[in-house]
Symmetry: C3
């Protein structure tokens, strides 16, 4: 379509473009990663997570038939693969000195990555115990649920808490970068944003879930149920010193609390007492004692019928 | 990196890990699927859905040029592939006895899966008729819309209702597991959660859509428009008997109703009369007659200027 | 499984299905694209966007190690690929006469597509400058953020604004279809819906982000921060003449404004003065002067303790 001297003109313009972009790399260095080290790739973390989920829910997500005889070999093969993948991505995450002060030799990093990988595998039974309670809570909590298979294979709230249980374990072991990447992978898929730092008791159920946000220092008890659009958030903190010891910025939700759609609960001093019910769209920035029900005051609506002038 | 006796030590620890996970499979059986049968894989349902969508919107999503001459062969080839894929995933879904009482022979299951597959293909013209009305409603309803192509290829609300029309048909034919998996695939992609059980009239439009939840027993009339964050939900039902006949737990929305962003309408007895307008963030748990406008009472805001003390 | 005359019966039914679908194509033409031209495929736009993002954030998303020596060749190769991909998808978008009146020859379209592609590459340094300010804003604005790497690789708000900066550039150059497809790709992944038409100043940060909607004609100043579920929307416009000159239908947000979760700000005449703070769940349809804080009136809640009768 373009011939002769036009081709050279095109070459020249493209070369200029490349030089312009390279100049921009020198000018705005905070969004480059040009130190020659590898970062954990999103696709690698995604594959690792798929492997972990296939071991947590055997027979559901691995694409193979499993039974009592074959499951040992399946688990063995997957654990071996998880070990190697974890070593690799954890090693890369450790190497970028995520939130860390001093550099470490590649030997030291490799040993630490291996230990983190093995510890995660060792933790799978306790992680599964929690997740088994979450699936039961979903079955009990949703009238539309008709089988464990349906819940495990299609409920976004179950996908989100399952990944959270894994990511929170890695967060508690101080593995950098990886927990948040895992959380965001499932946030992207479900619209449910559970920060890996949040502490969540057993039998947790998020119904529908799109728009749920649970902040880093939230503490959630047992048998808590959240609906779509619920925020457990912080008051705005301007200019926090990131090197200071973390304080609790997000609420405490005690056992057996239900929070309905769109409710917002804010602040590290806010405690929702056990057995409380927080109604839809409620905005709450202070504690309530055990057994409290909080609802929006209904007279805040105005009704106009067809004959009236509308606002 | 690790040599000699360390290797054996590593082998020993990995073997322990595997045994620990297998013990956990015995202990928490509700999240296993170890009976040797295959489940419909998420990826298979996703591919089936892509095929269905490519036949519903010919020329938009199939990656090939289509015209009057070639479309017959395209449709023939896709229908044949849909038939076989539907037979496979439906057969698997039927085999896991989803919500069913008695086991069936694989012969019976295969015949039923084939019938479901063929019936779905036969229903495509009527499904397309509905979807054509939805695309028209999007074009009329959104000032920013500038062509059918833009709407079909990029509007999440159109993707969600198109998949819903398919999933609702399968739900009405009592195909297990598959309808909900389809709904959750598009929920994951769009943030719009339309339960396959919901009955939705023609010319339905969801604008933006993230956070929309429409419950299983909702009944929605013609020319209804919902904005992002709208919930058509149920009052909490504790311990419902899942074997009991389903009652209507979600609202009825009559023809020509518009519901603005963030509004929540709850309860199986709640009827929003035709032509009504429900304002943003409204929380409604009772019926309103035809032609009603409901808005939030505005004085519920407080304003502080720079000189004031802030709360 | 089926033999003899049953096979013919099956063939006959499948042939009927195909004819039924073809008849439906003739009847409901608004959801067909059967004119023999190719549309830009979602997957192609997605790959193009991945390439663009890998050049904007070098070393983060390309899956290769980059350093000072290798980055020139990486950028050169990617720019060449982006050029060709942009030419192809832009050419297809121009060819479907998106929002245009008169047909153009394929020669003219190819020249225009090439110019659009080159201009986008030339704009990357200025796009990067904006995105570098956005990443800084995220680091300052989120107490949980612990490194640029974490922000760039996992924050949905950063992914959304980075794609918006690219899509908005294409929108401002009047490239059809492509900007909205890009916006919807990242909306699908993040739940953040920034219309490519919206004008957004530097140092923009969306925290968490699920459910955020920013309309086509919004004007946003510098250092603005939005939380999840914020809507900058339009009053409903019925039957707008699409060929008329666009008026501002969405709000103006001046510099240094923070809008908390779930707030809704509507209307093209609404101006939020600089330095203002809009509280969570606030519903605002009129302007406020600079330095205003708007919060929900708290007494709109009712509390019931365990002994009380609940509503």
């Amino acid at each position: 379509m373009f011939y002769g001297c036009r081709v050279n003109e095109h070459e020249r313009r493209l070369a200029q473009v490349v030089e312009g972009i390279l100049a921009s790399y020198r000018e705005h260095g905070n969004i480059n990663h040009l130190d020659g080290s590898n970062l954990p790739a999103r696709s690698e973390v995604s594959e690792l997570l798929d492997d972990l989920v296939s071991v947590v829910f055997p027979g559901y997500f691995n694409g193979e038939q499993l039974d009592g005889l074959t499951s040992r070999y399946f688990v063995g093969a997957r654990c071996a693969r998880i070990l190697r993948r974890m070593e690799m991505v954890t090693g890369r995450a450790l190497a970028v000195h995520q939130c860390q002060e001093q550099a470490q030799t590649s030997e030291v990093i490799a040993v630490r990555a291996h230990e983190h990988a093995l510890e995660l595998l060792q933790a799978i039974p306790q992680i599964r115990e929690r997740i088994a309670s979450d699936v039961k809570a979903a079955f009990v909590g949703d009238p539309a649920a008709c089988s464990d298979a349906e819940i495990i294979m299609s409920y976004p709230g179950v996908a989100a808490i399952a990944v959270h249980r894994i990511a929170h374990y890695l967060y508690s072991q101080r593995v950098p970068l990886l927990p948040r990447m895992m959380s965001e992978l499932v946030h992207s898929r479900t619209g449910i944003d559970l920060h890996p730092g949040a502490t969540i008791g057993h039998s947790f159920f998020v119904d529908h879930g799109t728009g749920v946000v649970v902040g880093e220092t939230s503490k959630i008890g047992n048998r808590v149920k959240l609906y779509q659009g619920v925020t457990l958030g912080a008051h705005s903190v301007k200019g926090r010193d990131k090197s200071a010891a973390p304080v609790q910025r997000h609420p405490t939700i005690e056992d057996d609390v239900t929070v309905y759609a769109g409710a917002t609960i804010l602040g590290g001093d806010t405690v929702i007492g056990r057995g409380s019910t927080i109604g839809g769209n409620v905005w709450l920035t202070r504690s309530v004692p055990a057994g409290t029900t909080v609802v929006l005051d209904t007279p805040s609506l105005r009704f106009f019928s067809l004959g009236d002038r509308q606002p």
